[in-house]
Every structure is written in structure tokens, then in C-alpha cells.
């Protein structure tokens, strides 16, 4: 007994945590609308990132980042290593779901205008997280060194080369030379397992710190959207963050209050349940559609039918439809508008206070993204 007591004393001395402070930190008031899953999807990418980190580290034990061996090592993981196919598939599907979850989360943030003052910077961090997720995906499937890997690397680095001023340097930096080859694979591997995870963790920490500093956005629903009853966002009077008051039709005063609940245990349990459902979903996807392996990379022959991962379909279609300059520069402008949207939105609200132009820009933008994605998927 005295041994347990002395161990407790040692633990308290080694980790002098104030439990009351910890309790206060974990019981941050959460607005009631987060009871709905649609509003709780922000934690999903974090959960999926952890899954990818764990499965990714395990895959690294067998993967060889060298052109002659990369494909064979992935084939060994898939066909020979015990449960290798399962881990690789979970890694792949969690990457896909992560991109989807970030897109869904950003849609929710966009259409509830939660990026508005004072959360502009957090939107930009979120945009950075989406872009990082996409680069993660791009470098990830390039590592397999199958045909799509090689040609995606060729196209991707050539797009980078078209960047004004720094394009040449950027492309050579990414490729490690004038052409895609052994250096490219090594660099993509370093990006995928070292640089990008570091960037991702920094952005995630900043994102969560910003959320804690500002608190979760409190939204004002229209009369049909009573908290806890059911979601109803009307187009004419969209939900609006309470803090934002810049001539917006749905602006609210500071006096308006909405009911809250503590982060722990209520929201923590919600996140746990979402995590459980995701694990179930990942396993089902893995069993139904395990990650397959295409033809090995052939730098001399571009396959007749080539497509990138689904989240690049819209860009891929856009590049087919437009000239080189418009295709590449247009993509870059879109990315910049996406990142700096809160400031563009603020300008729009000032210029046209009575109209929710941003809402319709979002609808049009997402509709175009979906049309291009489906077009590329089915044609």
C-alpha cells in the first residue's frame, strides 16, 4: 500500500498537474448545434489523420523508396506481409475519407459563414489543411510507383513549373532534377513521411488553438431551426455567426445567447462515436474495395486511360477544357481565392450589404466542382 502511495506521490511530483485546471480546460462550453453530426464533422479529419499516421508508420517498415524496388515493396506489402493488404487499404481509404471530411467541414463552415470575423485566419489554416491533405494524397499515390503514380508526378511537377517567377526552381526542387526519377521518389517520400506530417501537425495545433481562443462559432438559426430540434438553414436567411455584424442580413447582437453543453463528456463522447462509426466504415470499405495495384510505372508510355484520384478530377477536367495558361493560372487563382475568401467575402458584404452574394458564390463554386468531378468520373 505504501508502495502505491509513494508511486502516487512520485507521479504527482513528476507531473504537477492541477486537476481543476484540466477539468476547466476540458469543459469548454460547446454550442448546442454541435449535437448534430453535420456540425461535429470537424474532429473527423483529426481522427483519420491519426489512423493514417499509425498505418503509415507501419507501412514504412516495408516500403523501399527507390524506383527499382518501390513497386515491388508495395506488392510485397499487399500480397505477402501478414495483413499488409488490410493496413495499406485502411491507409488509402482513410486518406480519401480525410479529404472528403475536410471538404464537408469546410462546406459547413462556408455555408454557415463561420469563417467571418474574427475567424478569418482559422479559415486560412483550414484551407492550408485541405491543401496539405491533397498534397499528402498526391505524394502518397506517387510512392506506389505504378503508372498513375509516375504520370501524376510528371503532370503535377509540370503544373508547378508553370508557377510565375519560381516555377522552374519549384519543379526542380520537387523532382530533384529536370525529370521525374529516383530523386523525385526520394523527395516525395521525405515530403510524405516527414515534411507534410510536420506541417499538418503544426496547422492542426494552430487550428485547435484558434478554436479554443475564439470558442466554437455560435450560430443563429432561422425560426424553423430551434436548437436540438432539427437542422433547418433557410436560403433567404442563412445561419449567421453571432459575432459578425457588418451589414449582414442575419446579423445578431451580442446579447443573444444560445444554450451550451460541456466539451467533456458530452462532445467527447460524440467524437468517440463518430470515431467508432469511421472505423467501421473504413473496415467495410477495405473489405469491399481493397487497395489494388496497377501496372508498374513505365516512363516511356503514358497509359491510354489515365485519371488521378477523385479529388483532383475537377482540376483534371478543367485542364482538359482550357488552354495551358488558363488551365494552370486559373487553378492557382482558384486556390488563392479559396484561401483568402474571408477577406473577399468581407469586401462583398461591404459592397452589397443587403445581398448574400457569398452564399451564391459558394453554391456556384461547389456546383461547378461537383459537375467537373462527375464529368471526369463518368466520361
Amino acid at each position: 500500500m505504501s508502495a502505491i502511495k509513494s508511486l502516487q506521490t512520485w507521479a504527482k511530483e513528476s507531473f504537477p498537474l492541477d486537476l481543476d485546471v484540466l477539468k476547466e480546460m476540458s469543459s469548454e462550453p460547446i454550442p448546442y448545434h454541435l449535437k448534430r453530426w453535420w456540425f461535429a464533422v470537424g474532429g473527423t479529419p483529426l481522427y483519420l489523420f491519426v489512423i493514417q499516421a499509425v498505418t503509415g508508420i507501419m507501412l514504412t517498415f516495408y516500403y523501399v523508396p527507390e524506383p527499382a524496388e518501390a513497386y515491388n515493396s508495395v506488392a510485397r506489402i499487399t500480397n505477402e506481409v501478414p495483413f499488409g493488404w488490410y493496413l495499406r487499404s485502411i491507409h488509402k481509404w482513410s486518406a480519401n475519407l480525410m479529404v472528403a471530411a475536410v471538404i464537408l467541414h469546410m462546406l459547413r463552415v462556408f455555408f454557415t459563414s463561420a469563417y467571418r470575423k474574427p475567424r478569418e485566419f482559422n479559415w486560412m489554416i483550414g484551407a492550408g489543411l485541405l491543401l496539405t491533405s491533397c498534397v499528402f494524397g498526391f505524394t502518397g499515390y506517387s510512392l506506389i510507383y505504378e503508372q498513375i503514380s509516375y504520370w501524376a508526378a510528371v503532370v503535377g511537377t509540370n503544373i508547378a513549373e508553370a508557377t510565375p517567377l519560381i516555377g522552374g526552381w519549384l519543379a526542380n526542387f520537387a523532382r530533384g532534377g529536370p525529370e521525374v526519377g529516383a530523386n523525385t521518389l526520394t523527395r516525395f517520400f521525405v515530403f510524405h513521411i516527414g515534411v507534410l506530417p510536420t506541417v499538418m501537425v503544426i496547422l492542426l495545433v494552430l487550428h485547435v488553438v484558434q478554436i479554443r481562443l475564439h470558442g466554437v462559432t455560435r450560430l443563429r438559426f432561422d425560426e424553423r431551426g430551434e436548437p436540438g430540434v432539427g437542422l433547418s438553414i433557410s436560403v433567404s436567411a442563412p445561419v449567421t455567426p453571432m459575432e459578425f455584424r457588418e451589414g449582414s442580413a442575419g446579423a445578431a447582437t451580442k446579447e443573444e445567447k444560445s444554450p451550451t453543453f460541456p466539451f467533456y463528456p458530452d462532445h467527447f463522447y460524440t467524437e468517440l462515436i463518430i470515431g467508432l462509426v469511421l472505423t467501421f466504415l473504413l473496415t467495410i470499405l477495405t473489405l469491399v474495395a481493397p487497395a489494388h495495384l496497377g501496372e508498374p510505372a513505365n516512363p516511356l508510355v503514358t497509359p491510354e486511360h489515365i485519371k488521378p484520384e477523385w479529388y483532383f478530377y475537377a482540376t483534371f477536367r478543367w485542364l482538359k477544357l482550357t488552354s495551358f495558361a488558363i488551365g494552370v493560372i486559373g487553378t492557382m487563382i482558384f486556390v488563392l481565392v479559396f484561401i483568402f475568401w474571408p477577406f473577399i467575402d468581407r469586401w462583398l458584404v461591404r459592397r452589397y450589404p443587403a445581398k448574400e452574394i457569398s452564399f451564391w458564390v459558394g453554391v456556384a463554386g461547389f456546383a461547378i466542382y461537383m459537375i467537373f468531378t462527375l464529368w471526369e468520373a463518368f466520361v
Partner: protein
Amino acid sequence: MAENEKQTRRSFLARLWMGAGLFLSYGTAAFYGFSFLSPRFRKPQPRRILVTSADKLPPGATTTFKDLSGRKIVLVNSGSGFIALSTTCTHLGCTAYWVPEKSHFFCPCHDGYFDVNGTVISGPPPRPLDKFEVFVDENDNVFVEMREA
């Protein structure tokens, strides 16, 4: 800085030297790091490759050969002369391939089409396929000049 801490010449100079030292040392480290990560490669050198003899390639005929990297180069006798075309698409670098039944080059990445002379027929490529210089010597041997690292 706290209000009661008065800035003296000594403290100002100390901060200045400290700042300059940090800037120089980290700046030098950043320059070394930047140089380390920026790849260097040899300047490509011109080289003439013997491809065929002119009498083996009548007007309208094409033949293909590979450069040192193994990429296909197409040699065309257009009737008015020989044209050596790179098969690397000028859009985003995929390999275009010759479709004999339609007499055009097709790039599958973003649907680029080129005619037998390498001119863009349709699609997003910004310019014709790259051409290499062709030389025919006094013995009717056809050479193509390429630049290879």
C-alpha cells in the same frame, strides 16, 4: 520591455549585435540549406544520332527511334524534308503516341491532338511538339541532333 528598464547605449548595441549575429548565422544556415536542396545538373550537350538513310524513308513515311533516356522520337519525311518530333506532350509532359489509322498523335492525359508535323489540332497543348534538327550528309545518312545531359 518593461517601463522601468531604460534603454542604454550599451543595451541597444548588445541587442543590435545579438540580432545581427542571429540574422547572419541563421541566414548562412538557410542559404546552405537552400543550396543543398536545390538540385544541380549538367548542361545538356548536343549529340548527333544516326537514324536511317534517306532512301529508306520515302515521302509520307515515318520511323521511330529512342534517345538515351529511352523516349520515342518520330522521324517524318514530309515530302519537303525530314522532321524529327519529340513525343513528349507540350502541355504537361505526358507521352503522346501515334495513331496510324487516324494519322495523328494523341496525348491521353488531357486529350491533346497533334498532326503529322507536330502541329496542335485540338486540346490544351500550348505549342506544337518539339522538333529536333535533322541533318542529311553526302551519303544520304539522316542524323538527328539531340541535347542530352
